[in-house]
Structures are given as C-alpha cells and as structure tokens.
C-alpha cells in the first residue's frame, strides 16, 4: 500500500522536475552534503587538544628545552621569530604522544602566537629564567597574568607548569622563592591592571575575569587549573656535552599526557 502510495507521488515529481537528470543532481548534492558533514566531524575529533606550549620571556631557554626534549643534544640557539612544533614520544609508550610547541618569547610576537595556539593547548609550560628573575620579576608576572586571564585559557584550564630554568648557575633562585615572589606580584597586578584605562573599543584591558578570589591574597591554588613548580636546567650541570637535568619536567609531561 505504501509503495502504491509513493508511486503516483514519484511520477508526479518526475513529471514536474522534467526527467531523471534533475533527480540525479539532487542525489549528488545530498551525497556531497553528507561527505561534508562527515569531514567536519572527523576534523572536530582530530583537533582535540594535544599540544603542550612552551611560553616564557626572551632568553628563558625555551628553544634549548625544546631541542633537549626532542633530541637530547645541546644546540646553539638564537632568538626565535616563529614557532616550532614537533611530536614528542613519552618514554617507551608509543601510543601516548604530545605535540610540543615552542613559541617565541619576544614582546612583539608572544601575544600573537599565544592567540594562535591557545585553543589547542592541553598543558602550558611557563619557562622562567631563575638567574635573571630578580630583575625581571615584573615582566614575568605581567606575561603570566596575561596568560592566566585569557578567556580561552580560563575556559579550558590546561595544566600549568612553571619551570624554573637555568638551575645549573649558582645564582639561580629556588622554585619556592620564585613562587612566593610571583604570588606577591600577581596580587599587585590584579589591582593595577583592572584599574588601567579601558581599551579603545570598550573591552577592559584586564579582562572581565578576576584572578583568584576577591578579598584574599592571591595564591596559585585559587586558579581553576593545576599549577606546579619544578626546577630544571636545559644546559645541564656538566656543560654542553652532558645530559640536561629535566627529570621533573619529563615526569610532569607523562602525568599530563
């Protein structure tokens, strides 16, 4: 009965549309649409966040860290002007791997590159130069603040590791000291950045987000993401030929992946 019901409809359709040619066009269009949808679905699955970003000020040691993690050897480096990315296999387990992305630290470039890669970030390694920290504490805190109040970062809450690099030098500050200083500085920055004049198109510079809890002094535990501090040395204490001291960093990467 159904077939009988459909027949006159199909006949009417065929008559109206003028032949089988138009019908085949319609079928082709539907096939294309379905393929397109499948493609988008596959794309969506592939672009799940699998990237670990290496951020930090200029001369913090990000590119050397990147080279050491991937090849184990020491390489000379210059100031990066573009990002580098590579797949990093964690120990012997072949199935888990992360994409390490080394972003330039120069002031004119860092925010641009952060914009580009922040959506794909599963974890962030913020590299700090422990030797020059005392001098640069305000700049380090400002960049860290900009990373932390970013709306995408707050939404995804990737795990954050603050790697205190250059520990092979005797004058390097310890991770505990760096943590205390950063907390104090970020506390002050909360006030000053939200009080800055509003931006030209109306959006406030500090972002609507409030870092940490109001009323209490800033603490890294108040953030929505997990924050850890680790000491490391990309150059290694035995000079250029020796191994780098990256145990803490590697363990954290395994945990995060």
């Amino acid at each position: 009965a159904m077939a009988g019901g459909l027949e006159p409809h199909l006949a009417a359709l065929r008559r109206e549309l003028g032949g089988p040619a138009v019908l085949s066009v319609l079928v082709a269009l539907i096939a294309v649409a379905i393929t397109f949808l499948i493609w988008r679905f596959v794309q969506g699955r592939k672009s799940s966040r699998k990237a670990v970003l290496l951020l930090g000020l200029c001369d913090a040691g990000k590119t050397l860290l990147f080279a050491r993690l991937l090849s184990g050897r020491y390489r000379d480096t210059q100031t990066s002007i573009t990002d580098s990315s590579a797949v990093y296999r964690l120990s012997q387990d072949k199935s888990t791997n992360v994409t390490l992305i080394d972003l330039p630290g120069h002031e004119s470039l860092r925010l641009q590159f952060l914009e580009r890669f922040k959506a794909a970030a599963r974890a962030i390694v913020f590299v700090v130069d422990s030797v020059a920290f005392q001098r640069e504490v305000k700049d380090v805190a400002e960049f860290l603040y900009q990373v932390l109040v970013d709306s995408t970062v707050l939404r995804n809450a990737p795990a954050l590791l603050i790697a205190c690099n250059k520990q092979d030098v005797t004058m390097a500050k310890s991770a505990k000291l760096i943590q205390q200083q950063l907390e104090k500085e970020l506390n002050t920055l909360r006030v000053t950045r939200s009080a800055a004049p509003t931006s030209l198109d109306g959006s406030a510079t500090g972002g609507p987000a409030q870092l940490g809890k109001k009323g209490k002094d800033f603490d890294f535990s108040q953030l929505p993401m997990k924050v850890e501090f680790v000491e490391c040395s990309a150059r290694g204490s035995k000079g250029e030929e020796g191994e780098a001291d990256l145990e803490g960093l590697k363990k954290w990467l395994v945990k995060v992946a």
């Binding site: 100031t79 580098s84 080394d102 470039l109 641009q112 000053t192 009080a195």
Partner: protein, 642 residues
C-alpha cells in the same frame, strides 16, 4: 676576512656556524639584528651595523631559514652579497630532504656538515673579487672628447641640443677635416639659425640626404622660432607703460557704498520674503528644544563591501587564457611568491596605508619589509597572493603596535611610593597637541586610584597656561575633596608665574613633592616646534637635569608625515644635550584627539615605528573620563578596513 657566518632557522635553532679567526661569539650581534631589524619590520635593506660589525643577512622564506654574515665595519667586502646568495642556494639544495620533513625534527636530528662547501664558496668569492685586470686608461684619441670640436662645446643661449648632437655625429666621422672648417666658423657665433645653417652648408661634401633631412628639421625650427619671435615685436610697439584705469577708481567711498543707510538697525525695511515656516523648521514632529543624536545607517557597511568586491571582479576577468591558467595554478598546489607577483598588491596596500594617514616613508619601509618576509614563500592551496600579503601586513602591523616593554604606570608608581620618592612624569610635544588637557585627565585617573598628584607648571611662556592648570586643579579638588581621601589634598599646583626657567621650577617642584609626600609629579612643559634649537636645548636640559621617571611625548592623531620629523628631532635633541652615557629619550607616547579621526588611525603606526616605544595613553575627548589605553587589534582592524 669574515668574522662569522651563521645559518639558523626562524624557530631559533642554529644549524651551522662558521667562526672566523678573530671573531667573537656570534650570538649577541645576531640577536641584536633579529630584535632591531626583523622584529621591528625594518627589513627593507639587508645590512645592519652593530658596534664594530656590519651584518648582512638573507631570509629564506620557503624553508624558514636565516643566513647572516658578519664582518668588520671598516672593511668593504664586495663579494659578500654574492657569497650569501651562493651559500643559500647550495645549502638549500644539499639539505632539501631535511627541510621537507615535517616539523622541527628534521632540523634537530640532521647534521649539517657544511664546512668544506662553505670554504670552497668563500675561496671562489674572494678570488672573483680579486680577479679583475686593472683597467687600462684610454688614450686621448680614443676618447669622445677629441672628436668634439670646440665650436659645439660652446654653449650659446637657447642652443637646441639636437643640433649639437647632429653636428657632433657628423664631425666625429671626419675628425681632421672638420676641425679646420669649424674653427673659422666659430667667429660667426650669433644668431643660432644662421650659424647652424652656415655650418651645414660647409658639409655639402657628404650626404645629400643628410642635408635634406637637416633642412627639413631647420624649417620646422624656423617656424617655431618665428612664432616665438612674433609676440616680441608686438610688445615692442608700446612705448612706456600707460597707467591702468579702473572704472570706479577715482570716486570716493561714498559712491562705492551700496548699503542702504536706512536699513541697518530698523526691522521693517527688510522686504518681506515668501516665508514658508514648514520648510524652515523641517520636521514638524520634533520636540522643541531637544538635540537629537546622530543616526548611523547600517547600510553603509553593505555598500562598502559591494564597492570593495566590484574592483576585484574585473581584475579576475582580465586574465585571458594564460591568465586563467595562471590563476588556477595559483589556487591549487604549491606556488612560491615572487617579487613580481607581490608588487602590484604591495603598491595597492601602500596607497591604502597612506590614505589612512600613515606617514609615506614608513608605509614604503613597511611594504619593503613585508616583501622581504614573503619572498619565496610557498602559498597554501586556495590562498591568493592578495590574501597572503594582507595577512602578512596585518601581522606586521600588530607586531609594531605591541609594546616592547611593560606599560603599567600604576605599578611603577606603587614602586616609587614604596621607596618614598615621587614618580615624575614629563609631558613634551609641539604646540597645541593637548598636553595640559591630557595632563589633567591623567591626574584625574591617578586620583581615582588613590595617588596624590602635584602639578608643576613649567610652561612659563604661553599666556594663561598657569591659570589653565589652576582651573583644572580647582575642578579636580571639587570632584575629589580632601574629606573623602582622609584629609589630604589630592591635587596641588606648583607654579612660579611666567618668564622663569622651566628646569629650575621642575627641580623645586620635585623636592617640594618629596617633602610633602606627594606620590606623582606631573610636569607640564611649553609646546615647541622641533626645529627651534634653543627651545629644544631648554627641554633637553629640563629632562637631563631632573631625570624624570617617564618622558611622554604628546602627539595628536591628526598629524601626518610631520610625526616622523617631530619624533626624530625630539629624540635627537634629547640625545645630543644629555651628558649621561645612556641618554634619556622619549619613553612613551600619548596619542591625543583620537575622537577626531574616523578610522584614519595611521598616526599610531608612524609614531610607534619611529621610536619603537609604546603608546601609553590615548585621549578621546576633552572631559576627564576620555582617557583610554591602546588596543592593537582594534587599531589594526580599523587600518586594514577597506
């Protein structure tokens, strides 16, 4: 002879390095090169000087490599450019496989053993520069000068150059004969037509055809000569000048007065016109006395887009068959950008930037730098040249507007507060840009954040400058009375009247602030033109003596190419008159009158490009709340908008 030669990737890994005999480590100069040239979009010309070294560089945009060579500044090595090109080609070809591997792993794991090839190329380059036989000097007979006669080297007034050339050509073929002939004809210098004709009559020995042609030529000349000579006799006829007679010249004022003396002051004398109240008042439904807002039509945007699309369409149609294939080839697959592809697009972008009030020389340099960055780059599928160039230009502009140092005045004021000394901000700029107005705005902002401000009136020249600041102080104190801030006055004015030395007043103001415990001192200086040397010296002295924490240059957003000149000369004056090792230059820019420009925001780019200092504040009006901070993305979006 070279100090070093480095090859590194744009991601920062050094692939290969050659250390010359004498050279120090290559890292520091190369870092300086990267930071000041590549990152500030000054990559137009390919050489850079750093201390005692000259650095030449080349970018490979396809594989993201940078080749840098450094040598002593005092040497001028001619083979360097060729050497870089050769090394580039050879390195790229030799290690093509490593580069084409995806990601940085190829670069990390590859060993680049390039030393032998490099030494060979260096030897070849050095030899090619040496091997050039010293040029033998020409003898007098071989030179052209011996072939000219003296006659044709004498310049008579109004001598047509074509005739000279013809004479020379002719005479060159017969050196000896004509010299004797030309010498006596020298005496007949005078009317040009006669002498030329005379010379050529003596050349009858040679080609008749030549002669005929020359006569044709002269006939044409004669006609022109006659035309030029005919007005002259007419002018000769008038003997002496006759006085010009005006129609009403001799009459006095009474005759020239056309006003009706009865009408001024009496209302009825005006003829009653046809007065249509409807037309005069316009909208009948308006409320009397109310001022309506401007209405923005959103149709404008759609119209703009249509207009933008239309010019792009005809350019697509223009191709023809070859053009069609070229376009298809460009759309699909890998096509590397060449200079010829980019030039028309860059021209258009340069004109667009200049139309948006970016200074002309800066637009040119920017486009050059973008071209260097994109040359040889492989475009992805479905990207056109225009879109790639636009994208690159947009990134370059955002890069320029990003501050190179931390911009947080409140944080620095807090620091100074902790050290119990006042934070001193000095405002300088040319006349009429809005220094005093923006000073008042900034002091309002500081007071809102709980800091007490002392305003130092160091503008002792302009009439009313001190009174202006006093009025502002009174208003600010009315807005923030001492009662609401725990009994202390938030704003005070320090002034010593007019005509005194500005640097002395500033020094006294700073010590007064230190004694009284003010947090910030804002120093207002007189406006001065950048060319005015004594005033620039006075400003430089004020800044050098008082060592302020922040020197802000106030510039208006309306300024065009002048911005470049102003900033360069201000910085130069500050650098020249300072005794210190590192002179205090302009630390930041205040961009004022931003509400008067629609989207012609190019002045922001010009100023930050010239000084590489950030724009700290933007003034958008005359009330105290019209103070903003710069948003790089919004400004670049307005700049790139069609």
């Amino acid at each position: 002879m070279l100090d070093f030669f480095t090859i590194f990737s744009k991601g920062g890994l050094v692939l290969w390095c050659f250390q010359g005999v004498r050279g120090p480590a290559a890292t520091a100069p190369v870092n300086a090169l990267i930071r000041s040239v590549l990152l500030q979009e000054r990559g137009g010309n390919n050489s850079f000087t750093h201390e005692a070294l000259t650095l030449k560089y080349k970018l490979d945009n396809q594989f993201e490599l940078v080749f840098v060579v450094g040598f002593q500044k005092i040497l001028t090595l001619t083979y360097v450019d060729k050497l870089i090109d050769d090394v580039h080609k050879e390195f790229r070809d030799k290690y093509r496989n490593e580069f084409q591997q995806k990601g940085a792993l190829g670069l990390l794991n590859g060993t680049f053993d390039f030393k032998d090839d490099f030494m060979r190329l260096l030897r070849d380059a050095e030899e090619s520069s040496k091997v050039r036989a010293p040029t033998v000097m020409k003898t007098f007979e071989q030179s052209l000068k011996s072939q000219k006669t003296v006659k044709c080297m004498i310049e008579t007034r109004g001598e047509k150059p074509k005739e000279k050339v013809k004479n020379k050509k002719n005479k060159g073929s017969k050196k000896d004969g004509t010299e004797a002939v030309a010498a006596p004809s020298k005496a007949s210098a005078g009317d040009k037509q006669l002498s030329a004709a005379g010379d050529n009559k003596e050349e009858l020995t040679k080609d008749e055809i030549l002669q005929k042609n020359r006569e044709e030529f002269f006939r044409r000349h004669m006609k022109a000569g006659e035309k030029s000579r005919s007005p002259k006799p007419d002018a000769q006829k008038e003997k002496g000048k006759k006085p010009r007679v005006w129609d009403l010249g001799n009459s006095n004022a009474k005759v020239l007065d056309y006003s009706n003396s009865a009408t001024n002051g009496s209302a009825e004398a005006c003829p009653v016109e046809e007065f249509d109240p409807d037309m005069a008042l316009g909208d009948k439904n308006r409320e009397p006395g109310r001022l309506y807002d401007l209405e923005y039509e959103s149709d404008d945007e759609a119209e703009e887009e249509k207009v933008v699309q239309n010019p792009s369409k005809p350019s697509v149609k223009k191709g023809g068959l070859g053009g069609m294939f070229g376009m298809l080839k460009g759309l699909v697959g890998s096509k590397s950008l060449t200079r010829e592809d980019m030039d028309p697009v860059l021209e258009k972008m340069k004109d667009h930037l200049i139309a948006k009030n970016v200074a002309a020389e800066i637009a040119v340099q920017l486009c050059e730098s973008v071209a260097k960055k994109l040359e040889g780059k492989v475009m992805g599928t479905f990207t056109t040249v225009t879109s790639t160039v636009k994208q690159a230009l947009q990134e370059a502009l955002v890069q320029i507007l990003q501050p190179q140092r931390r911009v947080d005045v409140l944080r620095d004021v807090m620091d100074a507060q902790r050290h119990r000394r006042p934070y001193v901000i000095t405002f300088c700029g040319v006349n009429g840009v809005g220094k005093s107005t923006n000073l008042a705005k900034i002091s309002f902002w500081l007071i809102e954040n709980g800091f007490s401000v002392l305003i130092a009136a160091c503008d002792t020249f302009r009439a009313g400058a001190v009174e202006q600041l006093r009025t502002h102080t009174r208003r600010l104190n009315a807005l923030h009375p001492p009662e609401s801030h725990g009994g202390r006055t938030m704003v005070q004015l320090y002034e010593k009247g007019y005509g005194k030395d500005a640097a002395g007043i500033a020094m006294e103001a700073i010590s007064y602030a230190r004694n009284q415990g003010f947090d910030v001192v804002l120093v207002d200086t007189a406006g001065r033109m950048q060319d005015n040397a004594p005033l620039m010296t006075a400003l430089a002295k004020l800044i050098a003596v008082n060592a302020p924490d922040l020197v802000l240059f106030v510039g208006e957003a309306l300024v065009g190419n002048e911005a470049v000149d102003q900033l360069v000369k201000f910085n130069k004056a500050l650098a020249d008159h300072s005794m210190a090792q590192t002179p205090r230059l302009i630390d930041g820019i205040v961009l004022t009158k931003f509400d008067t420009i629609d989207d012609k925001v190019g002045a922001a780019i010009s100023m930050t490009y010239i000084t590489s200092k950030p724009i700290v504040f933007v003034g958008t009006g005359q009330t105290y709340c019209d103070l903003r901070s710069l948003n790089a993305k919004a400004v670049v979006a307005a700049l790139m908008k069609a």
